[in-house]
Symmetry: none
Subunit: 220 residues, 4 copies
């Protein structure tokens, strides 16, 4: 854990006599957490940072979550798992005849969430990057391995049929698609500083991503 000079978390300090007791809800903590996680990374975000963001003492964070582990559990369960479930919802269908449609549905869902939750893309990428991402580890068990495997099989079939580019690796297509969707959102700041005048509105991003995903899956 490094002293990310960003916000010194100065003075939880004592005294301050007439301080009105700030009350904070569980939800506020989680929101602050994901916001900071996406800005600074999970590892670099201390409980004091989160407390400060919410405007309470770090003791309050412990009061609500007992410890860091459980805070991460909560972030995972209440912020990420719903998204993971939504993302894989298209897999829960009888017939996997049309994997392209399924992948596109997943891409749509991903895109939807990423646009709506600005913290999602940066947090996801920075965490998935470290093999041992603190959140990644907690989320993985919620991925429906069985269905994912069926999708892979369906993709292979589609490739044999000529509906999907056969040079792609069935097992990797999903991750490539994720990269295609997430990276533009995660690197927005860099892009903006490189191209200050370009249009990076959500709509522009969405159009680009949709086109990119379409292209990716297109057969030869």
């Amino acid at each position: 854990m490094t002293t990310l000079s960003t916000s010194r978390a100065p003075n939880d300090k004592p005294g301050r006599p007439g301080r009105a007791r700030k009350t904070a809800t569980r939800e506020q903590f989680l929101d602050a957490a994901v916001a900071l996680f996406s800005r600074q990374g999970v590892a670099a975000t201390t409980l004091a940072h989160i407390a400060r963001e919410v405007g309470v003492t770090s003791a309050m964070v412990h009061y609500h979550f007992a410890n860091r582990e459980q805070l991460l559990d909560a972030v995972c369960n209440e912020k990420l798992v719903p998204f993971v479930h939504a993302l894989h919802a298209p897999l829960h269908t009888e017939n996997m005849d049309d994997p392209v449609a399924i992948l596109q549905a997943m891409a749509d869902c991903l895109l939807e969430h990423v646009v709506r939750l600005p913290w999602l893309a940066p947090m996801w990428l920075s965490d998935v990057g470290s093999t041992s991402g603190e959140l990644c580890q907690r989320v993985m068990p919620h991925v429906p391995a069985e269905q994912v495997n069926q999708l892979t099989a369906a993709i292979a079939a589609a490739q044999a049929r000529g509906t999907i580019n056969p040079n792609l690796q069935p097992h990797l297509i999903f991750m490539s698609m994720v990269g295609l969707v997430l990276l533009p959102f995660a690197s927005l700041d860099d892009c903006r500083s490189l191209h200050p005048d370009a249009d990076f509105s959500p709509e522009a991003l969405r159009r680009h991503v949709v086109a990119a995903v379409d292209n990716l899956l297109r057969p030869l």
Copy 2:
């Protein structure tokens, strides 16, 4: 944190009773650093981790690099900047008539490096994810903004000519491509645990990525 079992090798030679001072070169520190950065993330990696990985005291890290900042500078300059330069080398050409060729050259270069340097993809993604990545900040200034802009213009021209899918955003194509290349490598462990039997050899990955990039750029 793992007890790096570098296998202390208690005391080497034969007689040599005391200490057997372990020695380490600057290069070793940088290698250890990138290895740990890619595994744990930059922020979560302490100087003591790096020292232990190399088998010396953390005081030695300071002896060689003075402080954390300068270690990161060194990692950036000696590990990342060469890569960044290589990556953008295709941009230093007279005619940008064929942006597809240039993008493909960049993808090749990226792929090359990512395969050869296993730490690159995870480290890059996890750092680029945090808007304020400690390394990202240091690397960005080495990106040739001028050339990148020219490439973007060339891409737009190619789109007008019908050589590149016109629905893509010229400014985002490069980042999407990066995502396409990096993500499979960064999420290898996750993929492997999901599909234990699939072929994730470097060659397989390379084939997939090449096909994906080809597809991405293809005109309608």
Copy 3:
């Protein structure tokens, strides 16, 4: 930790075997600080020393003062500045006709404080000695330069009138007086070890110092 702390409290009330957390007030820290500063010097006194003197961990020092700088600020503002103000109070008068009276009032004040606050003389001298004394730097801004200059002018006038020894340098008289008052108190231990039987009671010291100051200012 796995088990929720809900189940704890196996032993509290009666015997209270554990820890018995030591508590300390801000004031105690400042007292300990000046005590140690006067014994060991400012630079040689670590925050851990102060903490140990008070009976708490050094983390507590940081809890109350954030960092060393601010601890020194507090020592300065709460321990030294009041004294500096009192010392220069005699300067805030309409007529400076009688600089001897003023100087004597200042000497009295100085003496008063030095007797009452045993840490003052050693700390002052050891810090004023180093041109860049950590405390000196903080205290100097509180010296009313304007009034001091007026006093100097008044001294020169008194010398011209023959009320003060004209061979003295007006600008140095104050410092010489300070030396005259402080040094006996600061070097008490040395004196005692040299003259074990002599009378070094506060009263004896006071008498000596008063006489010395009187003598110093006497006209030829």
Copy 4:
């Protein structure tokens, strides 16, 4: 020991291949030591500071002095003890009939040294201030206690005779005199910043101090 930000001692660092082997004499180290001691205080001066001042590595300091203790011993023996002996030389006389003459001789000697050795006054005061000054402890044994006691007795006799102000404490007169001489020199920087235009040349200081000492000893 605090990180006196004055001189960060940056980079003893490795490499620097073509460095001409700087050679330094024992004397140079001692000079550098007293210079730094007087500027920063003894406790705040590290061996690396001294090495740096001389332009060699800190290993060289150890090469010449084995360890910090012995360096301090050397500073004491070679820089301070000669002075202490000179200072007390006037005491080694048959008749102590004229203590005023003796004290004046001592003051002259002190003054002489303090003017010639600019480091002496600050270092002395800052060290004598801390009861447990690292140098003070080493110097004290060289003070001829016997003779000092005789002087004290002679002073008392002179007071009885009316040659010295009888209100002064015989045992404290010497220390008061020392304060009178040293303080102006030690606080020169402060004085100069307070009175930028005043004359603080060595001659002016000498005149002032001589007058002050004369005054101090004068009978009623």
